[in-house]
């Protein structure tokens, strides 16, 4: 196996991993603090992608478009929290799953009515559409490097907020005991709204960066949502550190598994059998990984909440 190709694939895995982390970060915070299972988190990825695509076209500038789309997504987050989700915090997980499942149907249809069912293509400005040869012989798309950089910067930012600020202290306190935070006289309602909207921005940011890579269409967030759930479950609910490590793990496992499993299997079985079993195993891989981790550690790798 070519070590340079392996290195390039590791970059691909890292890029996918930071993308997953952006989505999982909001999910795990909301989960940890408000104890809310939000299936509609994927819809925020979709809304971020659509807003960015529209605003980039409207301002005719990639940077301005994103700069406008971020607060717009924040606003959508505030709206969704206040109108729909706030009443769900005290409900059980089952009700939450159901109501947010209904939200997915609703958001997908709204998007379809506003932007149509047709996939939308958004291009990249020239300064982002080139390639750099960081690995000899394998020019790598600049934009994907940007994604990795943005992802790592945001991860550092979230970590700093959670570990070193007053807001982070409340978040950590909320994750381990949310009744106590309320009892201490913190305006828990606005804290919840703010945290949810912040999570929406991260998810939206992932969607915005996804836009130029893949087509933007109704329901683009759903496959990613399931992966993000896998990430936060493996990482341990409420744990940012756990989410980051699990996201990179899943990103790597998915990318490397997809490419190398069929090759690896060809050593042991016939080519035709490897072609069939390889992709199948690769798509099952992360779920097998998750099940295995949960069987050994039923509360994930870094459980934030005890008891």
């Amino acid at each position: 196996m070519d070590p340079l190709l392996l290195l390039e694939q590791a970059f691909n895995g890292l890029q996918f991993g930071v993308m997953l982390f952006l989505i999982a970060a909001g999910l795990t915070l909301v989960f940890g603090i408000m104890d809310l299972v939000n299936l509609a988190h994927g819809s925020l990825v979709m809304i971020g992608a659509y807003l960015a695509t529209t605003l980039i076209a409207w301002t005719d500038s990639f940077i301005f478009g994103i700069a406008l789309a971020l607060p717009a997504t924040f606003a959508v987050g505030v709206l969704v929290e206040v109108v729909a989700l706030r009443t769900l915090y005290r409900r059980n997980h089952l009700d939450q799953v159901l109501a947010t499942f209904g939200l997915i149907l609703f958001f997908n249809e709204v998007v379809r009515i506003i932007w149509g069912a047709q996939s939308i293509y958004s291009g990249l400005p020239d300064y982002l559409s080139g390639q750099v040869e960081i690995i000899p012989g394998a020019p790598y798309p600049v934009f994907r490097l940007v994604i990795i950089a943005v992802g790592l910067i945001v991860a550092a930012l979230i970590y700093t907020i959670v570990a070193h600020t007053r807001l982070g202290m409340l978040i950590r306190a909320g994750a381990s005991n949310n009744e106590m935070v309320g009892a201490l006289g913190i305006n828990i309602k606005s804290l919840f709204t703010f945290v949810f909207a912040l999570g929406a921005v991260f998810a939206g940011l992932a969607g915005m960066m996804l836009g130029p890579l893949t087509s933007v269409e109704p329901g683009i967030g759903e496959p990613l949502l399931i992966l993000a759930f896998v990430v936060i479950i493996i990482g341990g609910i409420g744990s940012i550190r756990g989410a980051f490590i699990a996201a990179i793990l899943i990103g790597m496992a998915d990318t490397v598994g997809r490419v190398f499993l069929p090759v690896l299997l060809r050593i042991f079985v016939s080519d035709a059998a490897a072609d069939t079993a390889g992709p199948a195993l690769a798509s099952m891989l992360i779920y097998i990984l998750m099940a295995a981790i949960l069987v050994v550690r039923p509360r994930g790798l870094f459980p934030a909440r005890t008891g």
Binding site: L88, L94, A99, G102, A277, M284
Partner: protein, 325 residues
């Protein structure tokens, strides 16, 4: 389980029983298939209610057992084994086995971890089914209807309908007995306070695992019937949204009531059938956007419809199954 519930069950079953004569009378055989489909999904929903409503186990991968039952029939039919007396027991056995394995691993976790691990297992089998090239992969496979040694002609709509009806009635009766038994009490008690049940010496894990396996088995039966109804099996039946839909039926009808999910399945599938038509009447091409109404309906049921459809018929307060995960 109270008298009211029994009455609602009997009335519902009577209504299902009179469908075939009516379709013959009005020469509308289509409705036979529609109600057959409703009853099959009702069986699946009732089986989920056993673990969801009574056991508090929020399984987000229940459709997978329908898939196993359906694939058991499809695969046996592919190899020329059309005998229903072989197909149905094997379908249920396979679902029971998978239910036992998945349950044994999933029940080590709880709360939201349980929701997600059941989803993960379902996703695993979904992707496995997609890659089963021999059995049609993503395209699915057609399956002939089962043969019951000349006793039941499955291609006769009415006979097939009453077979499903009998299955539904039997499942309701057996689960009704099960829920009232000591076993059912342990299951319900361990939902409200597992630690206490453990402390007084009940191996709650084993009880819950047994319930999980039974639910899987019954759902496998629904899958076998579903394969017969469609004469077709595909991975779609195991898709996570299908699991979500079965869950919706349970909540819509009334959780922890057994007959509620039957009402829920009826309401959900009738809505799915007629909502687009109604919306088409309101505005041109409105039918395409039926989901924009369906979504808020689900949210409204969660927010305001405590107890589901069942609660409309049963007096409030008597259903007495409080949920707290």
């Amino acid at each position: 389980m109270n008298r009211q519930q029994i009455w609602i069950s009997l009335i519902t079953l009577t209504l299902f029983a009179v469908v075939p004569p009516l379709t013959v009378l009005f020469d509308q055989p289509f409705y036979l298939d529609m109600f057959a489909r409703i009853m099959i999904l009702a069986i699946a929903a009732v089986s989920l209610d056993l673990i969801l409503g009574h056991g508090g186990m929020v399984s987000f991968g229940h459709a997978v057992y329908m898939g196993i039952g359906a694939y058991a029939v499809g695969i046996l039919s592919y190899y020329g084994i059309d005998n229903g007396f072989i197909q149905f027991p094997l379908a249920m056995l396979a679902s029971a086995l998978i239910g036992l394995i998945f349950g044994a691993m999933s029940l080590r976790t709880s709360g939201v971890y349980f929701i997600m691990i059941t989803l993960a297992f379902a996703q695993m089998l979904f992707f496995l089914a997609i890659s089963l090239e021999e059995f049609g992969g993503d395209d699915g496979m057609s399956a002939a209807r089962s043969e019951f040694a000349g006793l039941i002609d499955m291609y006769d709509g009415v006979q097939f309908y009453y077979l499903i009806f009998a299955c539904l009635a039997l499942v309701l009766y057996l689960l009704h007995r099960l829920v009232l038994s000591r076993f059912g009490m342990v299951i319900r008690a361990s939902r409200s306070n597992e630690k206490r049940m453990h402390a007084i010496g009940y191996p709650t894990y084993r009880y819950k695992l047994a319930a999980f396996t039974i639910a899987g088995t019954i759902c496998g039966l629904a899958g076998a019937l579903f394969a017969n109804l469609n004469e077709f099996v595909s991975p779609d039946v195991m898709h996570w949204t299908h699991s979500g839909e079965i869950m919706v039926m349970v909540i819509m009808g009334g959780i922890g009531t057994l007959i509620g999910p039957v009402l829920g399945a009826s309401a959900f599938l009738l809505l799915e059938e007629y909502l687009p038509e109604w919306m088409e009447m309101v505005m041109t091409n409105g039918g395409e956007h039926w989901a924009i109404v369906m979504g808020p309906i689900l949210i409204a049921i969660v927010l305001f419809g405590r107890g589901g459809i069942h609660a409309l018929f049963a007096s409030r307060g008597k259903i007495g199954v409080k949920q707290n995960d």
